[in-house]
Symmetry: C3
Subunit: 268 residues, 3 copies
């Protein structure tokens, strides 16, 4: 059975997501649709890109990932289908797909131009329903990506800030704050591991002051205390055991953090 | 594969919707259930009716649409199954189905009376689980609508305010505010098109003052600016590009708006 | 078709639930996944236990119920699979499964130890994705529970406060507040029925003062008025017709309430 995932900023309070599923069910009755999330903040392309990149690889090969965070809907912004070694991706050409593609071998990229694969009643405000859902449904039924439109040599990529080396460690920034208030950075697990070395204890710093130690899991510190963790999305995050790090430490997207090898004698 | 859609005010924070799906899976294991939305404000029959009307027609023929916004549950309010040319509808007889039926050819309406098709343990507080879910499941398995109860010649219809002609255009009211803060009116696309004519530029007015121009899509105005759009539900709505029109312009359900042909010389 | 239900505190704003579904779809493509709820307050094991206990029995025999409210993830807390006469349950050994098990005949309990049934990339922060989802998927494909790990003679049970008899009735406490603001107690339907007797009118008291009468459904009192109801989860709850009892009466989890046989002459 084919799978289509949906990542949007439509929320679940209105009928938008349900309508996309109706369109898909009408065109491809046997496909299963899975909500990746619809809770992306309205118009926040980066958050949508991060969510998609964090989750898409846990789906079986052949899954079609649809991401619609689309503040430019109806304007001249393009729309894409991307075929990679393992998946298909569908969405507006505004960068929302681009962070997922960093981890994929891209095989073909086509513009969505052939209106034969859109709904007949094409609106200029809801391409989730009128373009992306029907295109994904047609792809799930075996329509070849090249039939959707011309090949695209280039597409919009969101900048991805790599962490940079500092005198004592690595500096990065907060990219995402999740439901639990965990502040997820762009400092990836591999770099954290290299920095730590075999013996290594690490500390997270902010504005030149130590914020918390890095440990293996939330409960490694007392309730209410902050801790750095290499989280499930593969990046260093700052959490508070049993609480919200974003609230208690006033962490926000874009804030700069540094991780340093812990100086001798700076134990807990 | 048969489809059942659910439109409720149950939210997704408790177990209510999950329980309905358990009941359906127990009685009709092969049916697929799609959430239209569960985010209707508690007890807001009009909002439920609007959501259902905006979305139901995007589902394949034969879909069973269940709508449960039911503040009168347990009282003597009736309950209905409606067969139209394309769909079945199930819900309380309080008007929540009635705006969808405006677009459908109604073939049969029956009361839900035959307790054989309810759960054995019939509560007086959760007919979503005990009446509407099992009835929908039985219908999906081919139970004829007439077996559910007596035919009903009449049922509760929510009033639908048609927009009225004014000297310079059309006056209507706000019926729904969506997640993005777009304020959706009762002024439909056909009327907007007739008013505009071939050349036509239109303007939305509030309380005798111009509010914004009507354009084709959100990005037709600068970020932060208001714009009138014929939205995806087929009605004129007021939006703010990249923001919430409801918040910035203090628009609420029930507010009166007028759309007028734009006077010469009133360009942007 | 096999069913897996999910009860978590992950919310639907991030990609966590979607990722669990991807893992399940990868391992068990034919299973259907139903969201029981993901709206449990972060880390609130009691609320998760209550939601699961209120809903699990409405699913067909053979359903696999996964509950992940897991503030101790990554620590030494255990993880369980439980086989009962009708269902399988999977989750951390922190009590989240224990209230559902009060109503079930437990046949076997095994620790989750065999890493062959986990994801290869086992994190210490997201066992929903890395342990519980893959274990449930393997169980749905027929893996025997004994292969998951050693049998467990004991497990964590959340205390369940039984209501106690008072001179004039029964005293209990509020266990859960739902979306509608209904405050659900631990006083069960059977006890309420015995107390009422054949003729019986009952009243809910708080701190020695009468709060409201017990009636059959919300609309039995005027809009805005409080009423005691034996609700759909089988417990006495306090509601306000058309409003939130929790807000209007300032009811909170843990508050003590008493239900008494109504004194003669205390009619409405």
């Amino acid at each position: 059975m084919k799978l289509i995932t949906l990542t949007t900023d439509f929320g679940v309070g209105d009928w938008f997501v349900g309508t996309m599923k109706g369109v898909i069910a009408s065109l491809a009755p046997k496909v299963a649709v899975v909500d990746l999330t619809h809770g992306v903040s309205p118009g926040d392309i980066r958050a949508g890109a991060f969510a998609l990149a964090a989750a898409y690889a846990y789906f079986p090969a052949g899954t079609i990932h649809v991401a619609v965070v689309d503040p430019g809907v109806g304007s001249r912004r393009g729309a894409l289908a991307v075929k990679t070694a393992r998946y298909l991706f569908v969405g507006p050409d505004n960068g929302v797909l681009s962070w997922a593609m960093r981890g994929e071998e891209v095989i073909a990229v086509h513009a969505l131009e052939n209106e034969r694969f859109f709904l007949d009643t094409l609106s200029r405000t809801f391409h989730g329903r009128d373009v992306f859902a029907p295109v994904a449904a047609h792809l799930s039924r075996g329509v070849a990506i090249r039939r959707l439109g011309r090949p695209r040599a280039d597409w919009v990529r969101l900048p991805w800030a790599e962490p940079r080396k500092t005198r004592q460690g690595l500096a990065g920034e907060i990219l995402y704050v999740d439901r639990f208030g965990n502040a997820i950075t762009n400092i990836d697990a591999a770099r954290v591991g290299s920095l730590a070395g075999p013996s290594g204890r690490l500390t997270v710093w902010r504005k030149g002051k130590p914020l918390c130690a890095v440990a293996g899991f939330y409960g490694a510190v007392s309730p209410g205390k902050p801790v750095g963790i290499v989280g499930s999305s593969g990046f260093l995050e700052v959490a508070v055991n049993g609480g919200s790090a974003a609230e208690r430490l006033r962490l926000r997207i874009g804030d700069l953090l540094e991780v340093r090898r812990q100086a001798a004698g700076m134990g807990e």
